[in-house]
Amino acid sequence: MPTHIIKPVMSAEEAVSYVKTGSSVMVGGFNYGGIPYTLIDALAESKTGDLHLISNDTAYEGVGHGKLVQNGQVRKVTASHVGLNKVTQSLFNEGKLELELVPQGTFVERIRAGGFGLGGILTPTGVGTVHEEGKQVLEVQGKRYILELPLKADVALIRGYRADRYGNLVYFGTNRNFNPAMATAASLVIAEVDAILELGDIDPNDVVTPGILVDILVLKGDSHYASRT
């Protein structure tokens, strides 16, 4: 998709048509908060499959991106916690879903590494646990760290509060969570927002995600959770 300075505003259906079969897809959100519900509903409707879902969790059964897992659209999940969604856990147990579990702080730092051009990060998290297995452990200044590799994706579906025409984003409440990091780490970034304002209506001091990272804007819909978050 070509780069525009003024960001195209699309319907959720049109926007998610850029998610292709086999894509890796980052989805913002933590528990109920900060999920791009309208985009997810459209993606669930599209039936696009074989996805690698990269998200902190898989929400709940029938909620948000829990629907993608339930529909069988997901081949692999990279997450820190899937305990809220029994379907994810069962599909993994039955060998129908690949699951990569990552400590939450490591998860977001790997995304940051992907988005900010780092070759990896060194973290003390997980040293001496099963998470260390199969990974390179380095000692730096007398302390042991796990080398964690960058995470990137083809598409990021994120949730902002308000955007301007350039795609500059501000966030609201605890909806921010993984969204700003994911906006840096995907080839195509689609942001669902409450409102799209004219240039100058967002104070540059308040911008969290610069518009140069965002490709497509979609207004949130009025589904149960989209309207409440």
Partner: protein, 227 residues
């Protein structure tokens, strides 16, 4: 024999004791279960800043009207105290790993005498994922464990050696149960407080871990406030 205590008494006794551990201005993260009760018992004159790892520094109690745009790590709606700040997950875990979090309070499946903690997965059961627990225990200055002394079936939770997959190796600073308080210093597990009426020999029998007894062993703080 250790007395059988009411479940609610157990939960609140543990929470009340842990709430006495914080200095004024401490930054604290509370896990789910018993740890969430700790905020109800912060003594007068002490202000604690509660951090939730999904991006709030300065979490307040449940608001009158639920707003899903402000939730805690367990998914429950929270208020923001005056002076709170909202941050992204990378910043939040930066605070946790970077030594800016004074204490984290978590539950446990097992703790052993070396201060190893297992609280995220029982192999053979559905795997939930570690969430933020591994980061919290590796980063917080003080790792406080809130747990019943034994499992529901009466088995040991305070072990010689953890049998379950670890959340963190040698990370535990303190364990508070309904019967006793243990502290970990220099690789040693030390019994420092006993609840009223609890016999040391009974505690030894209910504790698989080998521990030392503090020369300053005292009655468990906070129990005097129980109704």
């Amino acid at each position: 024999m250790l007395p059988v205590l009411d479940d609610e008494l157990v939960r609140h006794r543990i929470a009340r004791r842990i709430a006495l551990e914080f200095e004024d201005g401490a930054v604290v993260n509370l896990g789910i279960g018993i740890p969430t009760l700790v905020s109800d018992y912060i003594p007068e004159g002490i202000q604690v800043i509660f951090q939730t790892e999904n991006g709030l520094v300065g979490a307040g109690p449940k608001p009158e009207k639920d707003d899903l745009r402000f939730i805690g790590a367990g998914g429950r709606c929270l208020s923001t105290i005056p002076g709170a700040s909202l941050i992204a997950s990378d910043f939040s875990f930066g605070l946790i790993r970077g030594g800016h979090l004074d204490s984290t309070v978590l539950g446990a499946l097992e703790v052993d005498q070396e201060g190893n903690l297992a609280n995220w997965w029982v192999p053979g059961k559905l795997v939930p994922g570690m969430g933020g627990a591994m980061d919290l225990v590796s980063g917080a200055k003080c790792v406080i464990i809130a747990t019943t002394h034994c499992t529901k079936k009466g088995g040991a939770k305070l072990m010689k050696k953890c049998t379950l997959p670890l959340t963190g190796a040698k990370v535990v600073s303190m364990v508070v149960t309904e019967y006793a308080v243990f502290r970990f210093t220099g690789g040693r597990m030390i019994l420092s407080e006993l609840a009223p009426g609890i016999d040391l020999e009974d505690i030894r029998r209910a504790t698989e871990a080998e521990f030392e007894v503090s020369p300053d062993l005292s009655e468990m703080l906070g129990c005097e406030k129980e109704q």
